[in-house]
């Protein structure tokens, strides 16, 4: 084949997002299926017979706020309102804590603005003792499960009542009682652990399942592959959620390979079923989670769900997205905002009004304000009370060994 030699100089493709600061984002080329068009296979469908779902987009709420198609979970009004409230509370909470960081009350904060449905709908579908393995962007799970927001704030402020005893970065919650696994600062690791947890549950003949989260960018970590491999091989009862919010700090999803093939399609090579879902559509996320949960509980194994959403704000308080994407890109995102869309659905159903919305918002602001006051009374990062320094040496092991005892003495406490 020497004839081909020197035929052409090779070159590399370095993916770039279509728009950068100063340019105007344009999502009109985005090929988004209409609400209601994707079929809903039976939960015992063979993965090979439903590969198309990895390439479409499961959507329930249409432009008019109507719930349409086979994926409509048919929720009652109370559930819809609970969903709306949870999402709004999460957003109000985020806004206050973000400001608190700006006020120097903590070192760091991360919002999930625009992605509330992705954590809250699944948390409402699953049993409370199903174990979630979240990233730092699923605070909505705790809120939906009724974990007290004062406790969450205590963690963020590393104050005297911080359930993590001042050891963890803000937003790195943990609550076994709420089926919320301790968040890791190291991306991806929890994806494999969730599969292990689910394997354990299955090995013990338990009925609890696991639900794992990973970001679009983090799918590139090895843990993503390990999780899918083990989940496929052992048919583990786990839901593998990929939150594709299209950005990983400053890198767009193309840097993780998401432009060429949807992340959901990664499932195909492991013989896992994949659903690709409009992550800003509370009902679609709800229904997809139901499907995956039923599958897992019926011993049919794992499901990969890609939640297609958009990170509407900066990565964290340390980030300025205006440095790498158009300022108005978030506004132009065509799949809208999950809170707006669920609100419109309730209005469409005649069960809600803009006034109700405003009243609820005001109520939640007040609730969060009161919680904030209470939490701050127990200290914030640089002021007021904090956990006892002694505890710094505890929980490294179940029991302190001589080194830790000596070191505590060395510190003079």
């Amino acid at each position: 084949m020497a004839s081909l030699k020197n035929s052409r100089a090779l070159s590399l493709r370095i993916p770039e997002p279509r728009f950068r600061p100063g340019e105007t984002a344009d999502f009109s080329n985005l090929n988004i299926s209409e609400a209601g068009v994707m079929p809903r296979p039976e939960v015992d469908t063979q993965p090979k017979d439903m590969r198309d779902l990895a390439y479409g987009l499961v959507r329930v709420l249409d432009k008019d706020g109507q719930a349409v198609g086979p994926w409509n979970p048919g929720l009652d009004i109370a559930t819809l309102k609970r969903g709306l409230r949870n999402m709004m509370l999460t957003r109000v909470y985020d806004e206050r804590l973000f400001r608190a960081q700006r006020q120097g009350k903590t070192s760091f904060y991360m919002k999930c603005t625009g992605e509330e449905a992705v954590s809250i709908a699944p948390a409402m579908v699953l049993n409370h003792d199903d174990m979630c393995f979240p990233t730092y962007r699923q605070q909505g799970i705790l809120i939906a499960r009724g974990y007290p927001i004062v406790e969450m704030m205590n963690q963020v402020f590393s104050n005297a009542l911080d359930p993590m005893k001042g050891r963890q970065l803000p937003v790195m919650y943990s609550s076994k009682a709420h089926g919320f696994f301790t968040i890791s600062g190291n991306l991806g690791t929890q994806f494999t652990q969730a599969v292990g947890w689910a394997m354990a549950s299955a090995l013990k003949g338990d009925d609890r399942i696991a639900s794992a989260y990973i970001g679009d960018g983090s799918t590139a970590e090895g843990d993503f592959h390990h999780a899918l491999t083990f989940a496929g091989v052992y048919r583990a009862p786990v839901i593998l959620n990929i939150v594709n919010n299209q950005w990983a700090i400053s890198s767009f999803q193309g840097i993780a390979g998401g432009e060429d093939a949807p992340f959901a399609s990664r499932a195909i090579g492991y013989n896992l079923p994949a659903l690709r879902v409009d992550g800003n559509d509370f009902l679609a996320v709800y229904a997809a989670t139901q499907w995956a949960m039923e599958r897992a509980r019926s011993n049919l194994g794992a499901t990969v769900i890609e939640h297609f959403t958009y990170r509407a704000e900066g990565h964290s308080t340390s980030d300025d997205p205006g440095r790498y994407r158009p300022a108005q890109e978030a506004k132009l995102w065509p799949l809208g905002d999950p809170i707006e869309r669920l609100k419109n659905h309730l209005i469409h159903l005649g069960e809600w009004s803009d006034d109700d919305q405003q009243a609820l918002h005001a109520e939640l602001v007040e609730l969060v304000r009161a919680a904030g006051k209470e939490s701050e009374s127990h200290g914030t990062l640089h002021a007021g009370d904090r956990p006892s320094v002694k505890t710094m040496f505890e929980d490294v092991y179940k029991e302190m060994d001589w080194r830790l005892i000596r070191q505590r003495q060395e510190l003079g406490i």
Partner: protein
């Protein structure tokens, strides 16, 4: 799950013992624990039907079923990561990494996860996981079947690091590790699987079965983590060693004619500082021996600890006899391996200092 392990009732009569080689002792530890505790399970590459490339898990799948002992994909990060999840659920996974040289892909799951769960969740989650892995040289395994990476684990707060040197200890420490509520890494000196090794490749190896005093209880017992053992009592110099080097050190003391006290550390982290200090204060001299590369090896920590605790008792510089700062070279097994000649010379040097 994650419930306290039933402690053995105080033995009234001497337990039944038989002679086991180290592999059999390790196998017996897992056998005992699989039998006692339904939350214990064993998995890893080739450990199921086949019983492991060193036969450590032989017969366990047959006896306890697929659910208790099974093969995993070749993914050290995957098998350790899933074990972390299982341990967080409440099981006590005991996993095998086929060779210590292959533990690195799983290093992040060990260091950032297993070691951190309890601390970062303030005790909400913890990780009673045991990782077993054959390590060390002396078997012409070349650079990827001979490594001694223990120091990469002793530096990590939140895990315990254990290395046995006899079948009795291998079983008792492994049981202790499985029962421990924190993650434990046990490196097994593969050179010792079949019999003790004095460091001289020309000497025939006596199988453990023929070693006097090698009596291993068939049932449950524990060698506590964190406690060293005096492998050879002596007065002139303290040798700190673990794994294969315990036997090489004893032989070196004999051939060099130095009355060395050989301390078999058994647990490296947390190390038994009391036994070390007591011995060095008695002898006033210290030689540290390990197979791992010298720079930043565990010998460095031992040297620092001894110096800190026994400065005014030391009559000679502490010496380290270790593997060289190179990968482990296939053809130069005995030039790389710290043998009797090098250890003996160090013993004599510190005696003459």
């Amino acid at each position: 799950m994650n419930k306290p392990i039933t402690k053995p009732t105080a033995a009234t009569e001497a337990p039944e013992t038989i002679k086991m080689n180290m592999i059999q002792a390790i196998n017996s530890a897992m056998d005992v624990m699989l039998g006692r505790d339904p939350d214990v399970l064993v998995f890893g590459e080739d450990v199921g039907y086949f019983g492991g490339v060193f036969n450590a898990t032989e017969g366990l799948q047959k006896k306890f079923g697929l659910n208790r002992c099974f093969d995993t994909p070749i993914s050290e990060a995957g098998l350790i990561g899933t074990a972390v999840g299982m341990a967080a659920y409440g099981l006590r996974p005991c996993v095998e990494i086929q060779f210590a040289d292959y533990i690195y892909p799983g290093y992040d799951q060990i260091v950032s996860e297993a070691a951190r769960l309890r601390y970062r969740s303030a005790g909400d989650f913890w990780c009673p996981m045991t990782i077993r892995s054959p390590y060390g040289g002396g078997i012409f395994g070349g650079q990827t079947h001979s490594q001694s990476p223990e120091a990469l684990f002793t530096h990590v707060a939140g895990i315990k690091t254990v290395i046995p040197s006899t079948p009795y200890d291998a079983k008792g420490l492994l049981i202790a590790a499985i029962e421990d509520d924190d993650p434990v890494v046990i490196f097994e000196p593969k050179r010792l699987y079949n019999g003790p090794f004095d460091g001289n490749p020309d000497n025939p190896v006596t199988p453990w079965q023929k070693i006097e005093g090698n009596d291993v209880p068939v049932g449950h017992y524990v060698v506590p983590l964190g406690k060293a053992r005096i492998a050879r009592a002596g007065n002139e110099v303290t040798v700190l060693a673990y794994g294969t080097m315990v036997h090489v050190a004893i032989a070196s003391a004999e051939t060099a004619g130095v009355d060395a006290e050989v301390v078999d550390l058994r647990t490296l982290s947390p190390v038994d500082i009391e036994s070390i200090t007591a011995s060095v204060k008695k002898t006033g001299r210290c030689v540290i021996v390990h197979e791992a590369t010298r720079t930043s090896g565990f010998g460095a920590e031992l040297s620092a600890l001894v110096q800190e605790a026994c400065f005014y008792h030391l009559e000679a510089p502490i010496e380290r006899v270790t593997g060289w700062d190179t990968p482990y070279p296939h053809a130069f097994e005995w030039e790389y391996f710290p043998g009797q000649k090098r250890i003996g010379a160090a013993l004599k040097r510190v005696m003459e200092a």
